[in-house]
């Protein structure tokens, strides 16, 4: 593979980079002089020009989102950094919190300066004990050094508050996050109004993923054009891809948009472990429709190409399934996940996810009825575009794709009198497990 520019992960392996002194000596906080010499609007334009898109899952153009915040408004504005990282298959934001926390702080400064924000809440999922500690320490060091705090931003204040989540995937949805931050259940709000206009505490709010914010220092240092020159026309730059599943070396790998999906997986991770054959790839977290092996080999890794293939880049969580991975079991697992995580507001979601899981479980246990496969397929459309947020869609879309592309596996569980006894992975736990 051609040498790629490391933007986000450049400093991950440098020892001591998580400390303020270390970060500075690795080129950290160098964007600030340039930042403070620009007008806030110019910064927004720069981010727009870079083509940076949200790296949390929706892929929304970041500069455009910032520009929706009303300028002349007599209310404080807020930044919420989404570190809830709950999409199954995703484990990349934790790397930033862990190994490059000051890059996130520097990115927060850039965003807050551009939009006129003085308080940023970093909402970190509660299970990330170590990352919360690491990032909190970095924030403390930044306060102590006067990098953030009172008057730190060209006379304006910047406060960063680390907010710990308490275990709910739906708090990764931007309005679910806002509700949770406000001290309530994380039940998403209808949009409009959008958070940029009316977000947390009734005030204009930018909600951005950790990685999105962490990309900002490089863009400031090297310019929007340099960022836009990497990747493809509409999918500029790079992204951290969490690659897991049946590969030799699972891990977080930074990839340039536009490379071939399977080539990227194979070159990064060493391909399928134990010489097995590829069966399928889930490209963007469990909420993304599944791709067959052939589709994975013939699709480029960028927002448009993956969408054209019927799936999505999402959170960049790539899960690789080999010939022995049971698709029916996979459906049982992900439907259980969505049923567990549904906030419960909307009937199509809370009842639909539960129903899908009951049927998938039944099929997997060999108790499926012939009509169950079509039943699943008919429930899915009733869950799409019918709810306050897209969790129902996140359950229904992949489900429909599993049935559509691997129907024969489901049929095999139903047709045989004694269903095939298939474990997801034969032989129990594999003793050799890849490390990050």
């Amino acid at each position: 593979m051609k040498t790629m520019t490391k933007i986000i992960s450049a400093r991950f392996d440098i020892e001591g980079n998580h400390k303020l002194g270390g970060y500075k000596s690795n080129g950290g906080y160098q964007s600030l002089d340039k930042l403070f010499s620009m007008q806030p609007d110019e910064v927004i334009d720069e981010v727009k020009k870079s083509g940076l898109r949200g790296r949390g899952g929706a892929g929304f153009p970041t500069g455009m989102k910032w520009s929706f915040v009303p300028k002349n408004i007599d209310k404080p504005k807020y930044l919420c950094v989404n570190a809830d990282e709950g999409e199954p298959g995703t484990f990349k934001d934790r790397m930033i919190l862990d190994f490059d926390p000051h890059a996130l702080i520097e990115g927060i400064m850039i965003c807050c300066y551009a939009v006129g924000i003085e308080t940023a809440y970093v909402y970190i999922r509660g299970e990330y004990d170590h990352q919360i500690a690491r990032f909190s320490a970095a924030v403390g060091a930044a306060y102590d050094a006067g990098v953030i705090g009172k008057g730190a931003m060209k006379g304006r204040n910047l406060d960063i508050v680390v907010h710990k989540g308490a275990g709910a995937y739906i708090c990764g949805e931007e309005t679910g996050l806002i509700e949770s931050l406000e001290g309530k259940k994380g039940q998403p709000r209808p949009k409009p109004p959008f958070p940029a206009v009316e977000g947390v505490f009734g005030c204009p709010t930018v909600v951005n993923n950790v990685e999105t914010i962490a990309a900002l220092p490089w863009i400031m240092n090297n310019g929007a054009d340099a960022y836009a020159a990497i990747g493809t026309e509409k999918s500029t730059g790079t992204m951290l891809f969490s690659i897991s599943g049946m590969v030799e070396r699972p891990g977080v790998y930074e990839g340039t948009f536009g490379v071939n999906l399977w080539d990227f997986i194979e070159e990064s991770t060493g391909g399928i472990k134990d010489g097995k054959k590829l069966k399928a790839v889930i490209p963007g977290g469990s909420s993304s429709p599944i791709l067959t092996a052939e589709e994975a080999r013939n699709t480029a890794l960028d927002y448009e190409s993956i969408a054209a293939a019927g799936s999505m880049v999402g959170s960049g969580a790539i899960m690789v399934l080999d010939e022995d991975t049971c698709i029916v079991k996979a459906l049982e697992v992900i439907t259980r996940f969505y049923a567990h995580e549904s906030c419960g507001q909307c009937p199509p979601c809370r009842e639909g996810t539960h129903w899908l899981h009951q049927i998938a479980k039944r099929i997997r246990a060999g108790k499926g009825r012939p009509e169950d496969i079509d039943l699943i397929s008919s429930i899915c459309p009733d869950m799409m575009g019918r709810t306050v947020c897209v969790l129902a869609d996140a359950a229904a879309m992949p489900t429909a794709s599993y049935i559509e592309k691997f129907r024969h596996e489901f049929e095999a569980f139903i047709d045989t009198a004694s269903p095939p006894v298939r474990h997801l992975q034969p032989g129990g736990v594999n003793p050799e497990v890849g490390r990050l």
Binding site: P76, E85, G86, E87, P88, G89, T90, F91, R94, R125, G126, E127, Y128, D129, H130, D159, H163, K164, G165, A166, G167, A168, Y169, S180, L181, E182, G183, K184, K185, G186, F201, S242, S244, G245, M246, P250, G251, I282, S286, A317, M319, T325, K329, A330, V333, I334, F337, H340, E341, H423, L424, Q425, G428, V429, N430, P431, V433, G434, R435, L436
Partner: protein, 174 residues
């Protein structure tokens, strides 16, 4: 609405200082509910109605609203957990890489299944959804840290350390 039950819980000095600091970090008292609940749970171990009522009173919230928040989030416990509370991830990659085998091992080694606690209170166990550690699957969270890349052998060593009163983190190596 005022609660009529007397509460005997209150923050210790450390947590009281943290609580006061929290009040300065958010523009509404309601926004302090989750951080305040964390302080209470970390101090006492789990959230009883008394504790929830205490937090509600401190933040001038209706007690039933605080209760509904506690019931919504999976990390808040309303029943006691063991000295070592094991949370095994059971979502997609972890299932592909053998988490169900680990669950069986836990049952064999310490005799409990998901949702149960050992009689001596040393271990409790639950299965949870994606912990964001798919690259090192299968894995678990226990004692407020992740134990990743768990083979049968490694998990056995970790559990053994717990049983013997040693620090399980010492066994967190291949």
């Amino acid at each position: 609405m005022e609660s009529t039950a007397p509460t005997s819980f209150s923050y210790d000095a450390d947590n009281e200082a943290k609580f006061q600091d929290l009040l300065t970090k958010y523009p509404t008292k309601q926004a302090v509910v989750l951080p305040a609940l964390w302080l209470a749970q970390d101090q006492f171990g789990y959230l009883t109605p008394d504790l929830m009522d205490y937090v509600a009173k401190r933040l001038e919230r209706p007690p039933v609203q605080v209760y509904s928040v506690v019931e919504f989030y999976t990390m808040f416990h309303t029943r006691p957990v063991g000295e070592h509370h094991i949370q095994v991830c059971q979502t997609l990659t972890c299932t592909m890489r053998g988490c169900e085998d680990l669950q069986d091992l836990i049952h064999d080694e310490i005799g409990i299944g998901p949702g149960e606690m050992t009689k001596d209170g040393k271990f409790s166990f639950e299965t949870v959804e994606c912990l964001g550690s798919c690259g090192t699957a299968p894995m678990m969270r226990m004692d407020n840290r992740y134990f990743e890349g768990l083979s049968r052998e490694k998990l056995k060593r970790i559990l053994q350390a717990c049983k013997e009163g040693r620090n399980p983190a010492d066994e967190d190596h291949d």
